[in-house]
Symmetry: C2
Subunit: 268 residues, 2 copies
């Protein structure tokens, strides 16, 4: 196979399998090339990805080493994504009353989810998490995509214990958004005790849900080592959790004046 074609083929394989460790033998055998030629190819592919801002290749030599695609996104692309999201989300027809705005279309849109997930995965890539955890429903596509990019399992916490989950552990927590006690439940077999998790959700107001997730994970001796949301509300300024990443901030919703104000996270 010509070098041109080989480069394209390896790019296709790597970007479709993010964070998967490939033995260099895999590509040498597949394309019948020497290790030195593969090294040149990988060097070029790394340049391509870095120039495009879509990540890089990590090559680790020796036994247990190999080639791995680490997905990423450039700052310029994140800024553009934020601008696009803000323009969509500030549409006053999204105001639902009670401090809610309609966001399902955004959270279920493949293009936005793929790009938001790249930003979050890039932030979490070096943490060494074992799971991406979310609570149903609206954050699931984003959490699933982050987990897919990090090549680790996603765990979905349910609002109600389901028979199809086997035995579960449940807790009650206070949700500021709904101003009431809510329940969450996790399948025992979904997680291994003594591991590490990152939490991904669509929206955070006071941080009650994420705090609840942290608590239910703590029941399994699972440490939360990072949290990310698509959008966090500025109010209340004092959250129940201190350390989180948000792509956007919801500044205010003026129901009478029919305006929504959203600003980007500038600490990229």
């Amino acid at each position: 196979m010509k070098k041109n074609k080989r480069i394209g083929a390896i790019v296709d394989e790597l970007v479709n399998n993010p964070n998967r460790l490939y033995d260099s033998k895999h590509f040498c055998d597949k394309y019948d090339i020497a290790k030195s030629s593969l090294s040149e190819d990988i060097k070029m592919i790394n340049e391509i990805l870095e120039e495009r801002g879509s990540g890089h290749i990590e090559s680790t030599p020796g036994v247990g080493g190999g080639i791995r695609y680490i997905p990423g996104i450039s700052k310029e692309s994140v800024v553009q994504l934020q601008e696009e999201l803000i323009e969509k989300l500030e549409d006053p027809s999204r105001i639902l009353g009670g401090g809610f705005i309609y966001t399902s279309d955004i959270m279920f849109d493949g293009y936005y989810v793929r790009n938001m997930a790249r930003f979050i995965a890039q932030k979490f890539n070096k943490l060494g998490a074992d799971y991406v955890v979310t609570v149903e429903t609206k954050g699931i596509p984003l959490a699933a995509q982050v987990a897919s990019l990090l090549d680790i399992p996603m765990v979905v916490i349910r609002r109600e214990a389901k028979y199809s989950e086997g035995s579960t552990v449940s807790i009650n927590y206070f949700s500021g958004s709904y101003d009431r006690i809510q329940k969450m439940s996790i399948a025992k077999r979904a997680v291994e005790p003594g591991t590490k998790a990152v939490i991904v959700d669509d929206f955070m107001r006071g941080g009650g849900s994420i705090k609840g997730i942290e608590e239910i994970l703590a029941e399994f001796n699972i440490e939360t080592i990072g949290s990310a949301v698509a959008m966090a509300s500025r109010e209340p300024a004092k959250k129940k959790i201190s350390d989180y990443i948000s792509i956007l901030y919801l500044d205010s919703i003026d129901e009478e004046g029919k305006t929504i104000k959203i600003s980007p996270n500038e600490d990229l």
Copy 2:
């Protein structure tokens, strides 16, 4: 930019934006090349993707035309995927009783979801659907990935109307799996009346859920033009819907003998 690098860069851009129509000007301007060079590049990229079984490039000439990556998966890859899934799913520790088996880890695994979604998207690509519709919760990552590959929105039907969805339409339907009446509800603003949808879910027993989704969509004059599930039960043989695609068939669960029998869909 050298041709080698350009090929890799265009592959990265196209495979990350499936089914998105690119004007050839986009690439000609970006890489400062003539249309004839781009045509050669695209021809080569099409060969790469077809040889790898990961789809093809559709080029349509003239006004309103352009270049589009149509994702796919080879028959051999589907067969391999089915074998891997069956080996995982036939593990007797998955038996939960009551005819249920534990599948959440599979439905929330990025690698399996990406590949199952490629198979389903390939089947649905030419139908011209406007939405991929699912009902919460376990089928959401698969439906989201199919929607992402087809570049159309996903719509999630909720078990309970949520305030954050705005006004909703609800129906009751009979679920054979749970042997009771269940409710489903859809946000009015999530769908445009008079459109077409495909349905994607994790599991089908009698087809009651999918029939329910068809009915709720019919309330909006939305036609269901295809349905797909990761796994369908052989029993009952008579389903409430007639036309569906399944990746796997659940033949039997023997709770006493502690065995699960699953077979692949061979009509690929």
